[in-house]
Symmetry: C2
Subunit: 157 residues, 2 copies
DNA sequence: CGGGAATCTGTAACCTTGTTGCATTTTTCC
DNA sequence: GGAAAAATGCAACAAGGTTACAGATTCCCG
């Protein structure tokens, strides 16, 4: 595929600028793959797996590139990953939380999407318990999201 | 290896009897692999991965057998899997908890062992939140266990 | 600008874990 | 004791993560 004329990544100008700023702030190389991956995550309200990111970018980047891009963004602190019970990591931008102390996630049993439960405080924030020192906590739910259960919020019956 | 004279599984008589009772109560076939796997789990105070179980049994059983043994024990409700943040399932007997509502686990960053935090109540037991219906919750910690941090319980400094 | 050093990318390949198919063996029950 | 039902071992595949290495891109400084 011609490099010059190949279709552009699905990232608008504002998102692109924000991505470039994030990279600059961390002193990372500004590469097309990184801008694209950050752009996808900026536009997503829920964590995404590597494969979801690759699909969103129409497989224009090799999966190893996505993998390493996420690894470098993660080590720079821009991105963190959440574990959601299946065997794939879910990545999200470190905006108001980070990997050690993150909001819970809920994976919908019906649509399969993973949602952030940002209103729900990480429950057990204590640093130690009964001789155990807690450095990191991860909370994961399985259930039904509002979109898949329109009457779920009226749980009176 | 001769089947008759091959070394016995590391299961004492009492444990074996208990395992047989559990299998009988569920109407499952009493096979050597199942008795061995249940025995290992009975003697363990923490969840174990398939590979750990296979190692404990000195690879006397094929890993597919371990896999399917655990699957049948799980579907019978004798065993459940826990969420520990890495890509492998950890199995434990369903004694005072089950898969949907289980105590938190802590994986020690130093020794790698996963511990059950049975004294710590599952924190967010609510059935619904903000339109989300919660069917199952899993809590995982990373930190240091008491054995690896002798002064961890005196966190005064 | 321009060029070299540092870094990133794509391809290939490997590893671990989970999973299924099928022929053989074991268990159960009458 | 024997037939039906179920479990086991072996082979093989799948998915995701990870590493090696050569070639391409980015950065920085003159």
């Amino acid at each position: 595929m011609d490099l010059v004329n190949r279709p552009r990544d699905p990232v608008d100008t504002n998102t692109r600028t924000e991505a470039l700023n994030l990279l600059k702030a961390k002193g990372l190389y500004k590469t097309r793959a990184r801008v694209a991956v950050i752009g996808v995550l900026l536009q997503s309200d829920s964590p995404m797996s590597q494969d979801q990111i690759a699909q969103r970018l129409r497989h224009r980047y090799d999966r190893v590139t996505i993998y390493r891009t996420l690894a470098s963004l993660r080590s720079a602190g821009l991105v963190h990953r959440a574990f959601t019970g299946n065997r794939t990591w879910q990545f999200e931008l470190s905006r108001n939380c980070w990997e050690d102390q993150c909001h819970p996630h809920l994976t919908c049993s019906r649509c399969g999407k993973t949602h952030c439960l940002v209103g729900l405080e990480p429950p057990i924030a204590c640093r130690s318990y009964n001789g155990f020192v807690i450095h990191r906590q991860q909370v994961h739910f399985e259930g039904i999201c509002p979109q898949c259960s329109p009457c779920a919020h009226t749980d009176g019956h």
